[in-house]
Structures are given as C-alpha cells and as structure tokens.
C-alpha cells in the first residue's frame, strides 16, 4: 500500500487536470451546448473521489486509528524534481498523512456533489442565455451563448489546483497551487463576465489576495534564506544535508531552549566553541547545521511564520483582508459553495495547520487574535445583510475565524475538525441558497418568505444546515457535526483563557458569536422559508429544484449531521483521523516566549469533562439564545425588526455598511492607488509617449533622407551603368547582320588587316620575305 499510495493520489490529483485540458481543447464540441464537458468533469472528479477513498482506507489499514497521537506518521517523497541547485531543490512531491488524505476525500467528495448539483443549477447555460442583469446596446437584455463547458472546465482546474495544494510537500509547490486556486476563483467569480459587478468582484478578490500573497512570498524567501529548503519534511531517502523545514526548526528551537536553560543540550553543543567538536567525525554536517541555526533566531522564525500567515489571511478572508469574500458571491452559487465556502477559503486554515511546526507561540497568538476579530466582525455583518448569499459569505468568514482561533489557541485538531464539518454544512447551506435563488431569481431575502411549502426538500435540508452551523445538539449526549467541532474550539479557547488570563476575552467573544451565529442563520431560514410570501411576483413561479440539485442537498445534509460522529462502538471519526497526524507548534519554550509568558495549552487537556461539559453547556445556551431571538423577531414576530432598527440606528448603519471597511479601504488605498495610476498614466501619455513619438518621427525623417540618397545616388549609378550597357548593345546589334557570308568576309578582312599591321609595325612578315 505504501508503494502505490503516491500513485493513487497522483492519479486522483491529475484526473481533473486531464478533464480540464480535454474540455479546454474540445469543450464546445462535447454534446449539445457542451453537456458532455459536464459529464467528463464529473466523471473525473468522481473517479478522483473513489481513488482518494481507496487511498484513505489503504492508509487506515496500515495506520489504524485510535490512541492519542503525537507520533505523526507521514509518507513523503518527490514525483518530479523541477530544479536542483546543490542542496536547494524545487520539486513536485507528496506529503501524505491522515490530514492530507482526509482533505483529499473531503475536497473530492464535495466537489463531486457540486459537479452534480451544477447540472441542475447551470442548465440554462446549455443554450443561449438572456442575462437579466445586463443591458445590451439596443436597450434589451444581453443575449449570449451559454458557457456550460467553461464552467466545468474551471471547476476541473480548481479541483486539480486544490488537490495539488493539499498534497504538496514543499512550500514552493504550495505557493504555485495557491496562486492557481486564486486564478480559478478569479475566473469563476467573473463567470458572468458581462456584469460589471462580477468583473469588479473578480478583480477585487484577486488584488486583495495579492496583498496577502506578498506576505507569503516574504515568508517563503525568509525560510529559504534561513533554512535553505522549502520542503516540509526530511525526505525519507536524503542525507543530513537535505533536512526538511520541520526538522530544522525543531532543532533550532530545541537549541534555543537549551541556551535559555543555561545548560548546553545535546543538539546545542556544537554552537558553543571548543565543546564537543574535536574528533567529531560528522563535524562538517554539524557546522553546516549550526550555521543555519544561527540565522534562524526566534524573532525571525516568528516573523517568517507571520509572513506566511499573511497569505492565509488573504486566502481565508480574515480580517483585515476579508472584504473580497462577500463580493465574490457574484459568481454562480455552486462556485460559492465549493470554492468560497468549503474548500479554497479553507486552504488558508489548512496551510496554517500544515506549517504549525513552524509557528511560534507568538505567531499563534496573532493567528488567534486575527481569528477572534474576524469571527466577531463577520458575524455582526451577517446580521444586517439582506442578500442570502452574502449572509452565508459573512458566516463563512466568521466560521473561518473560528478555525483560526482554534488553531491559534493550540487546538490543532479542533480547528481542522471545524474545517471538515464546516465544509459539509456550508456547502449544504450554499447549495440550498442556490436552490432558492434558482427558484426565485433573486438574492434578496426581504422579497422571499414562505417558500417552505413550495420547496420542502430545500427548506428541510437548509434547516439541517442551520442547526449544524449553530451547533445544535443535546449537550453531552449527541449533536450535529457543528456541535462537536465548535465545542472543541470553544473548549480549547477556554483552556487558553485559563493559562493566559490576559487573553481570556477571546473566549467570551467566541462564545457570544456562537449566539450571533444561531441568530443570523435562523434569521435567514425564517426570512426565506417561514411565514407568508412577501412578494407575489417572486413567489408564484417558485418550484422545487431539479433532482440533481436535491440529491446533492440530501447527501450533504446527511453528512452535516453525521460527520461529527464516530463509528458506533469505536472512537473512529474525523477527530481520531486528525489526531493521528497531530503536530506541535514550533516553540515549546522560545526566548521570546519567556518574555511574554505565553503558554499554548495542550489540546488533550480540553477534553477533560469538567471543561468540556462546562463549555458545551455555555455554547448551547448561547446558541439557544440566538435562536430564541431570531424566533421572536422573524418567526412569531413578537418583536418588529424595524423598531429595533430605529432604536439602534447608529449600530444598524454601521453593520449595514459592514463597519465601513470598504469605504475606508476605498478612501485610504483604492483612491490613492487610482490617483497614482492616473499620474502614471499621465506621465506615460505625455512624457513617455511624447519621447517615443518624437523618436519615431526623427527616425522617419532620417530614413526619408536615406531613401533619397538611395534613390538618387545608389540607384542612379546602377541605372546609368545598365543604360550605358544597353546603349552599347543597341549600337553593336547593327553589326550582327545574320548573314554568315558577311561574317566570313569580316574575318578575312580582319586577318588580312592583322597581317598587314603585323608586317608593317612588328616586322613579322619581314622575316618570311627575307627567308
């Protein structure tokens, strides 16, 4: 199994690429309107999913679940080496542990169902499409050819990129696929390219991500400089010279630990002069290592980790780069579900989890802080939003904040567990929203209402999704997936609160936002499905969605319920799967850490019943409160939202305008950048263009002059020569009479003349006459 596992993953990874290439080359010819492209892409991702599941099962056979980890087992190696500069190597390789396999299965599974769902949702694209949101030049709506195949083409490319990002064994490869998922996101946000809002949103997503990726590049460069490699792990075949990042960082931190303790540890001995170096037969290797370690100071390590985290902030839409995700909802809803909820935005969280051994306690604190701020801000924005997809987008940002918080406070498994459960229920919620939008033709919740009777399946599955994200469950007994994962994060945060009282407020914020989450989710559900239709025009043509869409909804709903559970009778579940590949953060005891006295609590401690039950109960109460308020406002209408809105007008305005982030960015960055661009354009147009134009004019003048010389002198000489020869020829032709007798006569005359001349002037004949 170990031998074929990489091949299995390689196949699972490259199948979507194959599908992408085929559709790219022949998409328009694949059946009517490109329907075949959909089948191809779905088949590719389906097979990918199967292969991933086989790989996971194969892995589990050899590495049985159970037991608390710390002994992370990995399988790593290279498929292809791109370049090798002495010890520096760039390669395409795999880093397989249970997290990788879990991500593979999750991504391919959700992607598969979203491919199926899209057959229903995108069926309009099979024919010519009349876009109601775009006005053509003649005043009517724009009519354009359908782009069914292109949708699936991008989905395939996305799946390939996402899987590449997951399977990567080095940060360089991660970065490449990181950008690829970014470009897929850009393509798909701007799928309705004729709508100005869609293109703007695409640009915004791309540019905001660039800001984060800049930090990521800095992080990559720093690690390259300090460690001389970007590979996570030491390759299983390599020598000491090719250590992986994890090993180098671990060594470096333990070295500093030794230094700060005052006693040289075994590893640290070589850095102290004159100690343990003489007679060491591997001296060169150690010197080499110690040089590297000298570069990797705790401060540098912290900063490099944070620089990498910048990329995660951009990709996972964390504060302050969260502004792109709500606008990204311009894309088709299946895309929002797959890319902007379940998988791509979770890539940031995934990367943080991957580089966990590189993050110091201080870096993790920043991660946690960013997560806390994000989860709070986004949740409050969701309360005031009226666009159904935007509510879900804010909710996504908020939940990603939870994951970051979980990771930041030491809950490696908790954060990733939430990533998995969130992927299922958020994909479900988005697909449900897509189903609603498909039926209503609008995104605005105020003009919906009472759809529950007409769309029972959608309403029921959405309800499951809402319950899951709110963390519904019977405390301590059983619950939906969100109940487990959110509780795990909250419990870990509570533990962090205990060890670091200074940051205790993070727990209360997270707890409060759990209530807000329940509130806005049920606000959404009640507004859409409850009560009476508020807009007859919208309501009267509402119908349940096609079977492909409902099937995906049901499957994801089931998974939203059960993905938090473990297999009955055992402790096998997503948590135990993740537990297997658990890693610890970089510094157990760094120098900085002793200054700030930051302690990342051990995660297992949060499983203690005293903590867990306590937190679980609190979270349940918070969610119940949120649910109750939502019910009061929107279900039984005991309170009128309008009144409250008037009462707290200031806060309401703030929330509707999303804390004025867009306006602030507009004023601070966008406008200044545009001004700078205008200046640059002016310089370009008036100075650089002037120079170029006049240089061109000068060259033209010169060449005209040159042309005159050429025509007059050079051509003149050649023409004169030709004319002269022609003239001579004309004269000579008179002699060519064409009568052979005349020629002979001339010959004779010539000979006689030569003879006479010879006789007279040279005396040739004289000899003869004398002889």
């Amino acid at each position: 199994m170990e031998a074929i596992l990489p091949q299995l993953l390689l196949a699972a990874w490259l199948l979507p690429l194959l599908s992408f290439v085929l559709i790219l080359l022949a998409g328009t010819r694949m059946g009517k309107g490109g329907r075949g492209a959909g089948y191809l892409a779905t088949a590719a991702i389906g097979v990918s999913c199967l292969l991933s599941i086989i790989a996971l099962v194969g892995w589990l056979v050899h590495h049985p679940l159970g037991g608390h980890g710390g002994h992370s087992e990995i399988l790593t190696g290279d498929w292809y080496t791109l370049a090798q500069f002495e010890s520096l190597r760039f390669s395409v390789g795999y880093y397989v542990d249970s997290l990788t396999l879990g991500m593979f299965v999750m991504v391919t599974f959700i992607a598969f169902w979203i491919h199926i769902y899209s057959f229903g949702y995108m069926h309009e694209e099979l024919d010519d499409v009349r876009d109601p949101l775009v006005t053509a030049a003649d005043g009517g709506n724009l009519i354009r050819p359908g782009r069914f195949h292109r949708f699936y083409q991008y989905l395939s490319l996305f799946c390939f990129s996402m899987l590449g990002l997951v399977v990567a064994n080095n940060l360089f490869m991660v970065f490449a696929f990181w950008e690829l998922v970014g470009i897929c996101s850009y393509f798909l946000i701007g799928f309705y390219v004729e709508r100005p809002s869609a293109t703007l949103a695409g640009n915004k997503a791309f540019i905001v991500n660039r800001v984060g990726d800049f930090g990521m590049i800095v992080g990559l460069a720093t690690f390259l400089f300090a460690c001389g490699t970007l590979h996570y792990a030491t390759p299983q075949t390599a020598s000491q010279h090719h250590q992986g990042l994890f090993a180098i960082v671990k060594e470096a931190t333990s070295e500093y630990q030794g230094k700060s303790n005052g006693a040289p540890s075994h590893e640290g001995s070589s850095t102290i002069p004159g100690h343990g170096k003489v007679g060491d037969n591997s001296g060169s290797a150690i010197t080499n290592k110690s040089q590297k370690n000298d570069k990797l100071t705790p401060v540098l390590l912290t900063l490099a980790g944070l620089a990498l985290f910048c990329g995660c902030i951009g990709k996972s839409a964390q504060f302050p780069l969260h502004v792109w995700l709500p606008d990204a909802m311009e894309g088709p809803t299946p895309v929002s579900a797959l890319i902007h909820a379940a998988t791509m935005v979770a890539a940031g969280v995934y990367l943080v989890a991957r580089i966990y051994p590189l993050l110091t306690a201080e870096a993790l604190l920043v991660v946690a802080l960013v997560g806390t701020v994000t989860l709070f801000l986004a949740a409050t924005m969701a309360v005031a939003a009226t666009d159904i997809k935007r509510v879900l987008a804010y909710s996504t940002i908020s939940q990603l904040g939870y994951m970051m918080l979980g990771l930041g406070v030491g809950g490696w498994v908790a954060g990733l567990f939430h990533l998995f459960t969130h992927a299922f229920f958020k994909a479900l919620l988005f697909l449900g929203a897509g189903s609603v939008i498909h039926a209503c033709g609008t995104n605005e919740m105020p003009s919906m209402g009472g759809l529950g009777r007409k769309m029972p399946w959608t309403a029921a599955t959405m309800l499951v999704g809402c319950l899951a994200i709110s963390g519904a469950g019977i405390p301590l007994l059983i619950g939906l997936s969100g109940y487990y994962s959110k509780d795990a994060i909250l419990a870990q945060t509570f533990l962090f609160h205990r060890t670091n009282p200074l940051f205790g407020w993070m727990f209360y914020v997270a707890l409060g936002v759990a209530g807000i989450t329940a509130f806005y989710m049920f606000r959404l559900w009640f507004l859409v499905f409850w009560g009476e239709p508020r807009d007859e025009q919208v309501a009267h043509h509402v119908h349940e969605s096609p079977r492909t869409m409902v099937a995906a909804l049901v499957v994801l709903a089931v998974l939203s319920v059960i993905s938090g559970w473990s297999v009955p009778g055992t402790s096998w579940g997503i948590t135990s799967l993740l537990e297997q590949s658990r890693v610890t953060p970089a510094t157990e005891m760094g120098t900085l850490q002793t200054v700030t006295a930051l302690r990342i609590p051990e995660e297992h401690a949060s499983h203690e019943p005293t903590i867990h039950a306590w937190v679980s109960g609190l979270a349940f109460l918070a969610a119940l409160l949120g649910f109750a308020i939502a019910t009061l406002f929107y279900a039984i209408r005991w309170l009128d939202p309008e009144d409250v809105r008037q009462q707290f007008k200031g806060i309401w305005e703030l929330l509707v305008h999303r804390w004025y982030f867009d306006q602030i960015y507009e004023a601070v960055f966008v406008r200044n950048v545009l001004r700078l661009a205008a200046i640059a354009a002016w310089i370009d147009r008036n100075i650089i263009d002037w120079l170029a134009d006049h240089a061109a004019l000068a060259v033209r003048g010169l060449s005209q002059w040159d042309d005159w010389i050429d025509r007059t002198f050079v051509d003149g000489a050649v023409n004169a020569l030709a004319a002269g020869i022609y003239d001579i020829g004309i004269r000579l032709r008179r002699w060519q009479v064409g009568r052979i007798r005349v020629y002979i006569m001339w010959i004779v005359i010539g000979i006689v003349a030569l003879f006479i001349i010879g006789t007279i002037y040279l005396g040739i004949g004289a000899n003869i006459s004398r002889g």
Binding site: V737, G738, R739, R741, I744
Partner: protein
Amino acid sequence: MLLADILSPITVTHYLVVGVILFVCGIVCLVVKRNIIAMLIGVELILNGANINLVAFSSPSLFPSGRAPLVLDGQVFALFVMILAAAEAAVALAIALQFYSRFGTVDVDQGGQLSG
C-alpha cells in the same frame, strides 16, 4: 615573271603559291556563294590549301644541311587535316540537311533569325 623563272626547278615557294591560290579560292567561294553546299566546297578548298602549305614546309630543302632526314611532320599533319575534313563534312552536311528541312532552301541568307 620571266620564263626562266617559270622553268627553273620547282621550289617550296611554288607550292606555297599554289596553296595560297587554293586558299583564296576557298575564301572567295565561302564569301560569294549563298548555296550552303557551295560554301562547304569552299571550306574543303581552304583546308586543302592549308594541306599544301603543311606538306611544302616539310620539304628537305628547307633544312640547313640540305639532306633529307625522314621527317614526315607535314605529311602527318596533312593526313590529320583530311580526317578532320571528313568529319567536318559529315557534321556540316547534317547541318545542311537540317537547314534545308527547316527553311525549305539551301540559301544561307534565309537563316538570319539571330540577326541583331
């Protein structure tokens, strides 16, 4: 020219005179005749004039010793020229035949296509 001169023994000069006469006859024939066959005859005359020259110059009386060693250069040359003449006649007659079949005449003045 005196009779005595005529009756004096025949010398090389006499041969040369005959050769010149033949040669000039040939040239004149070549220049004056328009008939291609006649021109060929003129060419033969020229060649024979030259032959006589060659033979005459191999005369033993031209050697300073006055003796006649068996040196047959002139005669051999003359034989070569005859062979050459035969070959030339064959080619020239073929040309003449072609000329006739193309122009329907043996008048060389009719073949003036290449005149300037």
